[in-house]
Symmetry: C2
Subunit: 199 residues, 2 copies
């Protein structure tokens, strides 16, 4: 037993393929499954399969939904004049958690990446200019991640939607609130200086 | 979307029920599932169900196995004169990892716990005296965890097997190697003093 018995090893490997799961956590989860009753395991598998089967991108914004439109697109109280462009639905959830942003979203489903060969055609980008016009949008806030690929994608989108005349904004970059300047990396500090405001 | 859409929430809750998985990790895993292809998910589910279905306790020692006997019980090169009594198969794996212990195991499948109403009859204990006699065992090393319940279980087993005349030993307790005495809790320090050796 210098290595685990095969079916257990396969189960551990399956858990390891999930994002953020290391070897040790995968082992704990696999043993957790062994400790489950058959009914508990059936329920686990059902929840996972059902989730996967019933969730798909919102027809309008690309956010995840179990219906045709996502909860945000179908919420009549949201401000339709502003669209926040994000890489994925995880970002939507982060925005929604702060309960401050009341506009709409446009979920790209990734970023432009020459490295992985992902071009704009593989992303939910083409429908954005059309949405801006047909929905009477006045501002597009680009909120891709602060990475090279996120920046490239932001640039691409900005150029693509410029002809619509919409106001295009970008999230502010700088020192995270509560963080020590000493620990900020060079690029963040540079952005914080560039984006400095008067007081 | 102040809360997640229902099928996603159910999937997150399913992952949360696995040991050691917090809310944030469960969310990442659920999104990981959404990012999988259908074939990848089918493979994940297959690995988990197969693992659960094919793994059961070893007929002799109670360790997990996919066969009748576990890899250790079926290994002819192991030293059959010593049995290490552990709470679960995770402990077996920990012992096996250090590659020093060459004896057999006896896996209890838990500890005696008045709190959860788990009595000795719910554990793999009854077959131990019989094993000691029939397998010609000369030493039983009790390696239950250093908790109140682990201690109680160790006491119970010790009393149960005493009549066989086998040598009964217990793992040493003390300061973990590399740890600072300053950070050792009172009980550990007490045990370290009690178990002190001459040099």
């Amino acid at each position: 037993m210098s290595e685990f018995i095969t079916p257990l090893e396969k189960m551990i490997e399956a858990f390891r393929r999930l994002p953020g799961v290391g070897r040790k956590s995968a082992e704990r989860m696999a043993f957790g499954v062994l400790d489950m009753t058959d009914a508990e395991l059936a329920d686990f598998i059902m929840s996972v399969s059902n989730g996967k089967a019933s969730i798909h991108p919102c027809r309008r914004c690309g956010n995840i939904t179990a219906s045709e439109l996502c909860p945000i697109c179908s919420d009549e109280s949201r401000d339709r004049s502003i669209i926040c462009v994000v890489e994925d639905s995880r970002a939507v959830i982060s925005f929604e958690k702060i309960k401050e942003y009341k506009g709409m979203y446009h979920v790209l489903g990734g970023v432009i990446s020459p490295r992985t060969g992902k071009g704009p055609d593989k992303l939910n980008i083409a429908s954005l200019p059309e949405r801006i016009v047909s929905e009477g949008v006045t501002e597009v806030m680009i909120a891709t991640n602060a990475t090279v690929e996120g920046e490239t994608t932001a640039m691409y989108i900005s150029r693509l939607i410029k002809p619509t005349g919409v106001r295009i904004t970008r999230l502010a970059y700088g020192i995270p609130v509560g963080a020590d300047i000493e620990y900020a990396d060079k690029l963040t500090l540079l952005r914080a200086i560039e984006g400095r405001t008067s007081f």
